[in-house]
């Protein structure tokens, strides 16, 4: 490899991602779009779980709040996508703040259960508060996203829209990870009291993690609403939070690469297994168990291990 050799894989990767829609069926494109939304969700969730080390099971609720905010604004008031998307982010972020506050007192399994309860209550409200949320029937008739005269009304164009958002949000996430906020999050996770005594307002940072992850989830929710143009409460229940958790853990927490890999892998895995017909979900379960058994640190952890073997040295330095 020459001087620019190291860029070759990146160029190939970039081209593959950009050209993917041109060479694939609508079926795979749809899964890819959904995977893209999951990528945003998981990068956001990583703030809470991978970075702050807090096990929260309410992520799907923020996702739902984002989706409903966008959908209802679009359907009731015909507000365009470029307004409803930030609105979704803000509303979800506010909920993140509200949920974050009381749960700051909770640790470990208690936090998990507290947030789980919040998530279930949100779904219940979405289902029962018919006057606002349209209840169990869900919201139909969401106007497609558009930019100027260009309308994102098919999976192909939407795919590129998602790539745009993923790139922006991944860059933002990376900047936060590498800033003092990222340091503070790691500090809180590994030694909370020491962090506090080092001058870090741990409560504020934890709230920040909650809000950030809720904002990401809100954006993901909004993008989901515009992808499907129909939403219903059941999508945002506990099973979704568990899917999100599984995706992050399979990918490997604490890194954007892990989030991306987990989201893609678990979005495609059940679909790849469909040829097994009756047995496909069974094998999906087996897949999860095997992945945890053979790569307990996620795909990204395994990748790092292989690399450290290749390099014949220990990862003593942290790549900044």
């Amino acid at each position: 490899m020459g001087r620019y050799g190291r860029y070759i894989p990146w160029i190939i990767l970039g081209c593959t991602i950009l050209l993917f829609p041109l060479r694939t069926s609508n079926y795979y494109l749809q899964i890819a779009c959904l995977a893209g939304i999951y990528i945003i969700l998981i990068i956001g969730y990583d703030f809470i779980l991978g970075w702050a080390g807090l096990l929260s099971l309410s992520h799907a609720a923020f996702y739902g709040i984002g989706a409903y905010t966008s959908a209802l604004l679009s359907v009731n008031f015909s507000i365009p996508f470029w307004v409803t998307l930030p609105a979704a982010a803000i509303v979800a972020g506010l909920f993140g703040l509200v949920v974050g506050f009381p749960t700051l007192r909770l640790r470990g399994h208690y936090l998990a259960l507290g947030t789980l309860a919040f998530g279930e209550i949100v779904v219940l409200v979405l289902m029962r508060w018919r006057a606002v949320t349209r209840g169990v029937d869900g919201v139909t008739g969401i106007v497609p996203a558009s930019f100027g005269l260009f309308v994102f009304d098919n999976n192909k164009s939407y795919y590129y829209l998602l790539i745009f958002f993923i790139l922006i949000l991944a860059i933002f996430a990376r900047r936060i990870h590498q800033s003092r906020f990222g340091r503070a999050l790691i500090a809180i996770r590994t030694a909370e009291v020491t962090a506090e005594v080092s001058g870090i307002d741990t409560n504020r940072i934890k709230l920040l993690a909650f809000i950030l992850s809720a904002v990401y989830a809100g954006i993901a929710g909004s993008l989901y609403a515009y992808l499907f143009r129909y939403i219903s409460p059941e999508t945002f229940g506990l099973h979704q939070s568990i899917t999100i958790l599984t995706m992050l853990l399979i990918g490997g927490g604490g890194s954007i690469g892990g989030s991306v890999l987990g989201a893609i892998l678990l979005s495609f895995l059940p679909e790849w297994l469909r040829f097994l017909k009756d047995y496909y979900l069974l094998l999906y379960g087996v897949g999860i168990v095997l992945m945890m058994a053979f790569m307990p640190d996620g795909v990204i952890g395994l990748a790092k291990k292989i690399i450290s073997k290749i390099k014949f040295r220990l990862p003593l330095r942290r790549n900044v």
Binding site: L106, L113, A117, E120, L281, L282, I288
Partner: protein, 290 residues
Amino acid sequence: MQQLTQLIVNGLTMGCIYALIALGFVLIYRTVGVINFAQGELVMLAAYFGVTAISIGLSLIWAYVFVIAAMAIFGYLFQWMIYYPLRGKPFITIIISTIGVSIILQNLARIIWGPAPLMFPSFFSLKPLNIGGVLVQPQNIFVFVVTVVLFSLVYLLLSKTMIGHKMQAVAQDPETAKLMGIKVDQVVAGVFVLNSILAGAAGLLLAPIFLVTLDMGSSVLMKSFSASIIGGFGSVPGAIVGGLFLGVVEILGARYISSHFKDGIAFVVLLLVLLIIPKGLFGERVNERS
């Protein structure tokens, strides 16, 4: 008044069920620090084993024996395949693994036994007993009695016996437990077997009341979970108190506030308890490992 009593009696029955399912995973949590998300599926599996036992012509008593034996073996295999390879990994890794197992068992049961609900007989007739105007099912009384007995046994086992102390020692510091000559792997395997047997008992007791369905365990798992948190996670007495409390509050809330929010009641109660007494009613004897 009579209706109120009836509601409380029924609430207590549900509470027993929550507690019974909670008991197993409280045990697992205390010993290996892991939340077993497949607990509901263990209960379900036991009930389906029971159905199979009856269908091959075993009497009810022998079906019970068969199920308990099968669950004991299953518990051993479960820890051997799921827990043993992941020992020493962060608890969350093992949790994901148990989620995988729950998906496996759900689908396995669907493929083997089909999606239709099935029947499992009871020792008792379905005719309710009229006790002072309150109607009570004999099977429910049976559930109540067995729950109390099982809780007492597990409590005594943990707090009064050598094997219980060993289990706690392993839970609190597995490496030091090894240095004290405790066969840690055996103790852990034993806990998984015991958990499986408890889940088996729950499955057998619930099957005649609930029917045997794919979701019979998982549908109450989250409530059991909430119950054990309300009682104080990891605490055996907490599990039963939390279970009974939740059962009664839920049924009263559904009756006198609104049945449309019945599922929410458990979670609202859970949130309130967490915010007011974050460690639950009975707290934890040992601080959490994480």
